[in-house]
C-alpha cells in the first residue's frame, strides 16, 4: 500500500534521513520507533509532502507521491495526525471534525463517519460545541485523531500520540488506536514509547540516526537484545509498563 524506498530528507539545512526504506500493507499496524532526533517525524512529513525529499521515492497504491502537495496527498486517502495536532483552535469540535472531511462531498457518508468518530470518542460527542482550544491535552489528541478519521482514510499516519500526556491518557489514546486497527484501519505509528508500541503493533521499524537499523514482527523485536538494552528495560521497570513520555512538556490545556 505505502512503499517508501531510499528516502533521503533534511530538516532545515541538516540532513536527517539517510536512505530509509519501509512499506505498510493493507490492514497492518506498523510502528516506527527510535530515539529522539532519529528522523521519525521527518520521515512522516516527507511522506505527506510537508518536507521535500532530497532523493528516494514514495509510492501509495502504486502511484508516486513525490512532488505532490500535502493537500493533494490527503485527497489520495492518507491522514496525518501531527505531533502538534494542528487543530483549528478557534473552531468547535464539530467544525474541526467536519473540516476533516473537507475533500469529501458525500454528505451521508460524512454524517456516518461523524457518528462512528463520536462512537469511538464519546467525549468528543459530549463536547461537540466546545472550542478546540479549550480542550484538555488528551481530548485534543482524540480530536486530532478523529479529524484524521473523518477523511475515511485508507492509511493513517500518527506522530507521537503519547507526547505530553499523563500515563493514564496515553493508555486511552493507545487503546483507541488499537480499536481503530481492529475496525480495519491501516496505521503507521511513530512512537518513543517502545514497550507499549511493540505490544500493540504487527510490525516495527527501528530508526536510528536517520537509518533503519532493525525491522521485523513486533513480537520478535520485543525479545531483541539491543532493543531490550536500549529502550525496553527502562520501560518494563515502570509501573504497569508505561514509561512516562520522555519530555512531558506539552501545554496543559
Amino acid at each position: 500500500m505505502l512503499e517508501v524506498s531510499q528516502l533521503q530528507a533534511s530538516y532545515g539545512p541538516l540532513q536527517v534521513i539517510w536512505g530509509v526504506s519501509l512499506h505498510v500493507e493493507q490492514g497492518e499496524f506498523v510502528a516506527l520507533i527510535g530515539p529522539n532526533g532519529a528522523g521519525k517525524t521527518t520521515t512522516l512529513r516527507a511522506i505527506m509532502g510537508l518536507v521535500k525529499p532530497l532523493s528516494g521515492t514514495i509510492a501509495f497504491n502504486g502511484q508516486t507521491l513525490n512532488g505532490l502537495k500535502a493537500n493533494q496527498i490527503t485527497r489520495k486517502g492518507i491522514s496525518f495526525v501531527t505531533e502538534d495536532l494542528d487543530l483549528f483552535d478557534g473552531m468547535t469540535v464539530h467544525d474541526n471534525l467536519i473540516l476533516g472531511a473537507f475533500s469529501l462531498h458525500d454528505r451521508a457518508q460524512v454524517e456516518g463517519t461523524l457518528e462512528s468518530v463520536y462512537d469511538l470518542f464519546p467525549i468528543l460527542a459530549e463536547r461537540h460545541r466546545q472550542l478546540a482550544g479549550t480542550l484538555s491535552g488528551g481530548e485534543r489528541k482524540m480530536l486530532a485523531i478523529g479529524r484524521g478519521l473523518m477523511l475515511s482514510p485508507s492509511l493513517i499516519l500518527v506522530d507521537e500520540p503519547s507526547l505530553g500526556l499523563a500515563p493514564k491518557l496515553v493508555l486511552a489514546v493507545f487503546e483507541a488506536l488499537k480499536q481503530l486497527h481492529e475496525r480495519g484501519s491501516t496505521i503507521l505509528l511513530v512512537e518513543q514509547n517502545v514497550y507499549t508500541t511493540l505490544h500493540m503493533t504487527n510490525r516495527a521499524y527501528v530508526l536510528e540516526n536517520g537509518q533503519v537499523v532493525m525491522e521485523g514482527p513486533s513480537s520478535d523485536l520485543l525479545r531483541n537484545e539491543h532493543l531490550q538494552r536500549t529502550y525496553i528495560s527502562m520501560g518494563a521497570a515502570g509501573e504497569g509498563g508505561f514509561p512516562a513520555p520522555a519530555d512531558g512538556g506539552g501545554p496543559a490545556l
Binding site: M48, L50, K69, A70, N71, T74, R75, S79, F80, T82, L85, D86, L87, F88, D89, G90, M91, D95, I98, L99, G100, A101, F102, S103, L131, G133, R147, M150, L151
Partner: protein, 299 residues
C-alpha cells in the same frame, strides 16, 4: 444639543460606519488569513467607484446592477492581483513577509493611482444620487433614500460575508487557513486557491464600498486614500486581523468622525480619531478586541 442635529450626526456617522465596516472587514480578512498588510485596499475602493460610474452613467444601467457589476469587477481585479503579484511574492519571500507585502501593496497603490490618472485624468466622476427622494421621519428629521439604500447595501454585504465565513464549507476553509495553515493543508485544503479567493473577497468588499458611496465620494484617481487610511484606523483599533471586531470598529470610527467633524470642525476629525487610537493602543496595545487566539472571526 437639539434633536435634529443629533439625528443628522447619527445618520452621517452610521452611514460612514457602514462603509468603514465594509472596507475594514475586508482588510482584516486579508491580514487574518494571509498576513498581508494591504495598503492598496483604497485602490480597490476606487476600482469599484469607477466601474459603478461607467456602468451607471455611461452605459445607463440600473443602479443596483451597476453596483453589483462593480463588486464583481473588484473581485476579479483582486483575484488577478493575487495571482500575478502576491502569489509570486509568497513563493520567493524568505522571512520579512509582512514588510514585503507592505512594500508591494504600497507600490501597487502608487501604480494604480497614476494609471487611473493617465487613463481617466484627474476629473471627478460623481453622481448626485442613485435614488431620488427622502424619507421623512419627523418634519425636521429625514434621511435621503440614496443614503439609506447605500447603508442597506453595506449591511447586506457585511451580513452575507459573515454568513459565508460561518456557514459554508469554503468559508470554514478560509477560517481554517487563518487558524492553522498546516492543519488546513492536512484536511485537503488548497492554500493557493483559498488565498486567491480571500484576496478577491477582500477586494470585492472594498469595491462594493466604492460603488455604493459614489454619490458621497466621487470616483477620481486618489479617492482611495482616505477610505484606506480610515480602514487601517479601524483594524488597528480593534486588533489586526479580526473581522467581527472590525465591523463594530467601523461603526465606532464612523460615529466618532461624524461628531468630531461637527464639534471640532472640518479637518479635525482625523486628529480626533488618531488621538483616540493612540489612547486605546497605550492602554491596550493588542487593540480593543485583540487576543492571543488566531483567527478571523473567533476572538
Amino acid at each position: 444639543m437639539n434633536l435634529t442635529v443629533l439625528w443628522n450626526l447619527l445618520v452621517t456617522g452610521i452611514l460612514r460606519g457602514g462603509l468603514y465596516a465594509l472596507m475594514a472587514g475586508g482588510l482584516a480578512l486579508l491580514f487574518g488569513v494571509m498576513n498581508i498588510c494591504n495598503f492598496a485596499h483604497g485602490e480597490l475602493f476606487v476600482v469599484g467607484a469607477y466601474v459603478a460610474y461607467f456602468a451607471y452613467v455611461t452605459f445607463g444601467l440600473p443602479p443596483l446592477l451597476a453596483i453589483l457589476i462593480a463588486a464583481g469587477a473588484s473581485f476579479l481585479v483582486g483575484a488577478l492581483l493575487e495571482k500575478s503579484l502576491i502569489l509570486p511574492l509568497r513563493r520567493r519571500s524568505k522571512g520579512e513577509w509582512i514588510m514585503n507585502t507592505f512594500l508591494l501593496t504600497s507600490g501597487l497603490s502608487v501604480v494604480m493611482q497614476n494609471t487611473a490618472q493617465r487613463v481617466w485624468g484627474v476629473r471627478y466622476r460623481g453622481i448626485t444620487q442613485y435614488w431620488a427622494g427622502t424619507i421623512r421621519i419627523t418634519p425636521t428629521m429625514s434621511v435621503a433614500v440614496d443614503r439609506a439604500v447605500a447603508f442597506l447595501i453595506a449591511v447586506v454585504g457585511i451580513t452575507g460575508f459573515w454568513l459565508f465565513l460561518r456557514r459554508t464549507n469554503v468559508g470554514r476553509a478560509i477560517r481554517a487557513v487563518s487558524q492553522n495553515e498546516t492543519g488546513a493543508m492536512l484536511v485537503g485544503i488548497d492554500l493557493d486557491n483559498i488565498q486567491t479567493l480571500t484576496f478577491a473577497l477582500g477586494s470585492m468588499l472594498a469595491g462594493l464600498g466604492g460603488a455604493s458611496m459614489l454619490s458621497l465620494i466621487p470616483a477620481y484617481p486618489f479617492a482611495g486614500g482616505k477610505p484606506n487610511i480610515t480602514s487601517w484606523f479601524v483594524v488597528t483599533v480593534v486588533g489586526l486581523g479580526n473581522v467581527s471586531g472590525s465591523i463594530v470598529g467601523g461603526f465606532i470610527v464612523g460615529l466618532v468622525e461624524s461628531f468630531a467633524f461637527f464639534y471640532l470642525g472640518s479637518g479635525w476629525q482625523d486628529v480626533f480619531s488618531l488621538g483616540v487610537i493612540i489612547l486605546i493602543l497605550l492602554v491596550k496595545p493588542s487593540g480593543l478586541f485583540g487576543s492571543e487566539v488566531k483567527g478571523v472571526l473567533e476572538r
